[in-house]
């Protein structure tokens, strides 16, 4: 048996032994996944057991080095772990912005001490991070941000406002882009900084979405003092002062890569299989076909697109593992995934008809089809809009000229 075959066999056995039945429901949604953090309470005993088993093995962050809480898996091994996990439809034991966004950026740009402190805490599910990028005047044009950060000798002094900070109200720390030089060209005066949300002077205010719920916040910084370092070599700033844009961009590639690995037609809450759902909801005509030919055709086309999309994620990963980095192609995946996700939940709503459009006594129910459909509108906006992804593909992948 080759090493990888051996690894697969061991992984399969480990999953069989350690992943509780209740965690094998496949559909990972915002409300059933394990986020971690100081305020986290496990939703079930099974969720807790699964998390703890994964943690002991380094499988909350399988590819991270062992010294930072991971299992140090190679790309091939990680693929096998994913495949074996998907085979039994097991949820991820832990997922959050620390794992998908900050972690990879710290691995690339952090000092050893920064990695030891922050990566370990992320791996153990102790700290939940939020992303402080967008501002009221800086959305797609992120680099025009204005939150001000002044050097006060032993500390930084921060004033300004962020917006659309997902889950800021329930997060422990924030990774944030601030302006340290107002005179430099806009990309050259930005710094990437880490702060504890409990710091004096930080306040948050939730914003309710059309889905009736609120993962969103406005975040205000009012004379917030951030120490220069959280210990020896463990600076608040990641990378160099005024060079935060490099870190920010690296992180965005990971964010898009992560958003681009959603399984568009399935990841969303709701019946797993669109065609099966439609058959149940609508029924058949006398020839045994779905009793709505236009919907039938749209569902089938969407399933073909979804299938081709998922294979593309697999192929690009295989290419990356073979040494051809994903780079700006992650924008293709982000673009395709978000448009397809919207299409899928639109189709679900169309299949559900008026019934899917009803609400409960307390408004739009969290996790309902309608809730998901409304929330999914945001996929082509968050993490860089569809138009911005198309701009990136035009310039970085196709090398088309600038205006």
């Amino acid at each position: 048996m080759s090493d990888l075959e051996q690894f697969r066999a061991e992984t399969r056995a480990w999953l069989a032994e350690n992943c509780p039945e209740e965690m094998r429901d496949g559909d990972i949604t915002a409300e059933n996944q394990c986020w971690g953090g100081r305020q986290w309470e496990f939703q079930s005993d099974a969720q807790k057991r699964w998390f703890e088993a994964a943690l002991a093995k380094g499988y909350t962050v399988p590819t991270w080095p062992k010294e930072y809480g991971g299992a140090g898996l190679t790309a091939d091994e990680a693929k096998i772990l994913d495949e074996e996990r998907n085979r039994i439809s097991a949820r991820k034991p832990l997922s959050n912005f620390g794992i998908s966004m900050l972690g990879p950026a710290l691995l690339a740009f952090g000092t050893h001490e920064q990695k030891l402190m922050h990566l370990g805490a992320i791996a153990r599910g102790e700290i939940r991070w939020c992303q402080g990028y967008s501002e009221p005047g800086a959305g797609s044009d992120l680099a025009s941000l204005k939150t001000k950060c002044e050097d006060k000798g032993d500390h930084w002094l921060i004033n300004g406002q962020k917006i659309w900070t997902s889950n800021a109200d329930i997060s422990d720390w924030i990774f944030c882009l601030v302006r340290t030089d107002f005179d430099a060209p806009k990309h050259k005066g930005i710094t990437f900084i880490l702060m504890d949300m409990a710091s004096e002077g930080i306040s948050v205010k939730p914003i309710i979405l059309i889905s009736g719920h609120s993962p969103f916040c406005e975040t205000f910084f009012d004379d917030v003092k951030v120490p220069k370092a959280y210990g020896d070599g463990n600076l608040a700033v990641v990378g160099e002062v005024n060079r935060g844009w490099d870190v920010a961009k690296n992180l965005l590639v990971h964010e898009r890569g992560m958003l681009g690995t959603m399984s568009p037609l399935r990841g969303a809450t709701g019946p797993e299989n669109l065609g099966g759902y439609a058959a149940d909801a609508i029924g058949f005509d006398e020839t045994g076909r779905l009793d709505d030919p236009s919907l039938r055709q749209k569902i089938a086309q969407a399933e073909i697109d979804d299938w081709a999309y998922n294979l593309t994620v697999e192929r690009m990963n295989d290419e990356a593992n073979a040494g051809n980095g994903l780079g700006a192609k992650s924008s293709m995946l982000k673009y395709a995934a978000s448009e397809l996700t919207k299409k899928g939940s639109q189709l679900r709503m169309d299949i559900g008809g008026t019934e899917a459009a009803t609400i409960g006594p307390d408004g739009i129910e969290y996790g309902s089809l309608a809730n998901t459909w409304l929330y999914n509108r945001a996929y082509s906006i968050l993490g860089g809009t569809t138009e911005v992804q198309l701009n990136i593909i035009s310039k970085r992948v196709l090398d088309l000229p600038s205006a």
Partner: protein, 379 residues
Amino acid sequence: MSLILTEEQEMLQDAANGFLTENAPVAAFREIRDSKNPDGFSRDLWKEMAAMGWAGIIVNEEYGGSEFGYVGAGVLAEQMGRNLTASPFFSTSVLGATAVQRYGTAKQKEQHLGAICDGSTLFALAVDEGPRHRPEHIEFTATPHGNGYKLSGAKTFVADGHVADKLIIAARTSGEARDPSGITLFLVDADAAAIERTHTPMIDSRNAANITVDDLEVTGDDILGEVDGGYEALEGILSAGRAVLGAEMSGSSQQAFDITTDYLKEREQFGQKIGSFQGLQHRAAHLATEIEMTKSAVLKSLQLLDDDFESASATCSMAKAKSGMTAQLSTQEAIQMHGGIGVTDEYDVGLYFKRVHVAQQMFGDAGFHADRLAKRSGY
């Protein structure tokens, strides 16, 4: 298995790309078209391809093939799609070789596979009986006669049917016109007196034939596969054809797109390169994304044909659907983004547009395959 080409397959790709751009570029195709070459391809070129092992690309080494499998065939077809290479590769090396190698008797293999590999015998598959692909609508009859059968009926748009030495004909030995069961495949000489072939030149300047057969007497030796059970074999042959046509369309999509992005980078209007206009950029970026999706779909279907042929049907169908949609979009956009020059005969993008349309119609367009997927999934 990784969804990327192996080193060997990449080498084949480079070799094919080098050979075709050198020996069979679009200009050569134009010459065939403009000279009204009655074959519709160059026999010399086909001999060279055969000598390189392309004609026997999926055939096992024991019969003289190069045993590169369907991924290998797709790699070649993709480059042919890029160069619009006209050849009997598809009808002979993909359809004919699949039919004989997978479903033929030992004797049929012995007799035909070597001749496929050395390029001396050309095959064609006669399945459809109307303008749209409907593989189970077979009315062509095979009635028992003596120890064998008598074949009678008509087939339409048989690709390369006008030049084929051998025909594989799907005929009905029992059942009703739309039954998948009751179909039997026959492998016959194309120049038999009872067969009449009418050359039907196509919009893409390739050739096909309408075929009528009037009381052709055949024996049990001419049956390919099972009596009444031919649909399964037909399904396998069509699957291989669909995946390889997908690869060809993927190549054409990419080439039409490359020609277009080059044009966007050089053509100026309003004092700017037109590639700097967001109205075109976003469509180009969308197209690039669709082309990536198509490549994955096609490669997966080819790999599955090599790995687990029997299970590949649905996947090949989806790959055909995806590649057809993308190819149509890519070639339509290629014309549009070129402005007036795009609709001239002199410019190549129109040739891609025409070829892709025919390839999309062959063996089922995207709508046909979406319907199959829906049926198979029970809705």
